[in-house]
Point group: C2
Chain length 251, copies 2
């Protein structure tokens, strides 16, 4: 397109997962995508697609050539995943992707972290008040990790790996602590899910802002503009220009 | 000994390492020790000694019977250790020990963390002023991890594992971010080493306090009472009753 600057090349790991599809489904035309997943693509995929496991370091290094931004989603997504799986897929896997990105001189790294990295703040004393719109307890990303499961431990460990790669290699890194992504409408009859709801529309917008904005190292929360919430959106708004459109209270 | 309450049984992993020897050398009579190391004991060891690797989960479970307190030092101690080694020995290894301790109902867990978990705060802008006694920058344990190497990443990840095991199983856990342990005198001509010096005497006292005190989950710094320092000792004093006797400025 005449006059249009060249689209950034964005490598997306875990492209066939739920978050990956939410992103590519809405931002498919905006970037020169390189999709990576260990599962083969659906027949209608129109982007470059590499079938590889992220723990395969050689494959990751090859995939990084000419990449501007990495969006790293791949990993075991199950909150109840056993230790061996999150150790390999989420901790060691993130190390492989970071190492390959650093070697290739990638400038920006967007890491999909999780609300489970801080789920331990949902103590018996705080819940269910925490999930209600009249409660003013907030996490803002400066608090220590407090995982609610071993999956959350792995996400917090990967955030710390990201911190190291930022400090050591100067790579811009943002860790997005994704809330509860559900299509079309928030979870029904589930206060916690409504408090951390992230709509597909806001999810795609959040990742678009993470790909576009300038930052050093950040941890921000990724939820819609819900009345119910215990995550502050201030940092995401300020650093990324995140401006969510949805609110679980409207359903 | 008549009238004396029974000594607590303390399982010490990494007993033959430098920190382990500093502890047992001074507290050898105070506790009913169970020493664990993958290296065999020196011939003069007078305590129960198990030769095992901490990543051997079955051996760890057997070792935990009737243990009151675990002091977990074992791991690859090299700041320059490669990722594969710290992933296995420091992250997965700590998980094995925590899991075995939780299964056995151990009530208290003392984890030897490291200054390298936060070495990234020593930025070019802050050093060398940071190491001098007229500088008032302090870390107090509430800050996010910022590792200076992959070893430091592994220690921060293990601290987060400890947080999870505390929340999930009610085990008391303290993470001691050990400074620079050297025998007899502080490192000479090395400002950083003097700022984070921990004498053998203060090291043994710190672990004695960690074995004896009551707490929930804590991260504290372990250095001597140095004039030069950028770690606050407030939390160690307050929670553990730590009262160091040495100061690198006196050498």
């Amino acid at each position: 397109m005449a006059g249009r600057p060249q689209e950034p090349t964005v490598l997306l790991t875990g492209a066939s997962g739920r978050v990956g599809r939410a992103i590519v489904g809405r931002l498919g035309d905006a970037y020169d995508w390189r999709l990576v997943d260990r599962e083969p693509p659906t027949p209608d995929s129109e982007h470059i697609y590499l079938v590889a496991d992220i723990t395969d370091e050689e494959a990751m290094v090859e995939a990084m050539a000419d990449v501007d931004v990495v969006v790293h989603l791949a990993g075991d997504p199950r909150p109840e995943a056993p230790w061996d799986s999150v150790l390999e897929n989420n901790i060691d896997g993130t190390h492989s992707v970071l190492e390959a990105a650093a070697s290739a001189g990638v400038e920006k790294f967007v890491f999909a972290s999780s609300n489970h990295a801080v789920g331990g703040y949902e103590t018996d004393e705080r819940t269910p008040d925490l999930y209600r719109s009249n409660d003013d307890f907030r996490l803002d990303g400066s608090e220590l990790p407090r995982p609610s499961n071993l999956y959350g431990v792995s996400k917090a460990a990967a955030e710390t790996l990201c911190r190291y790669y930022h400090d050591e290699y100067g790579m811009s890194v943002v860790c997005l602590r994704i809330g509860n992504l559900t299509k079309n409408h928030p979870p029904e009859g589930y206060e916690r899910g409504q408090a951390m709801w992230l709509s597909y529309r806001d999810c795609a917008h959040l990742f678009e802002r993470a790909i576009e904005a300038e930052y050093d190292y950040e941890i921000v929360y990724g939820i819609s503009d819900n009345d119910r919430k215990y995550y502050s959106l201030e940092r995401a708004r300020e650093v990324l220009g995140y401006n969510p459109q949805d609110n679980s209270a409207e359903y």
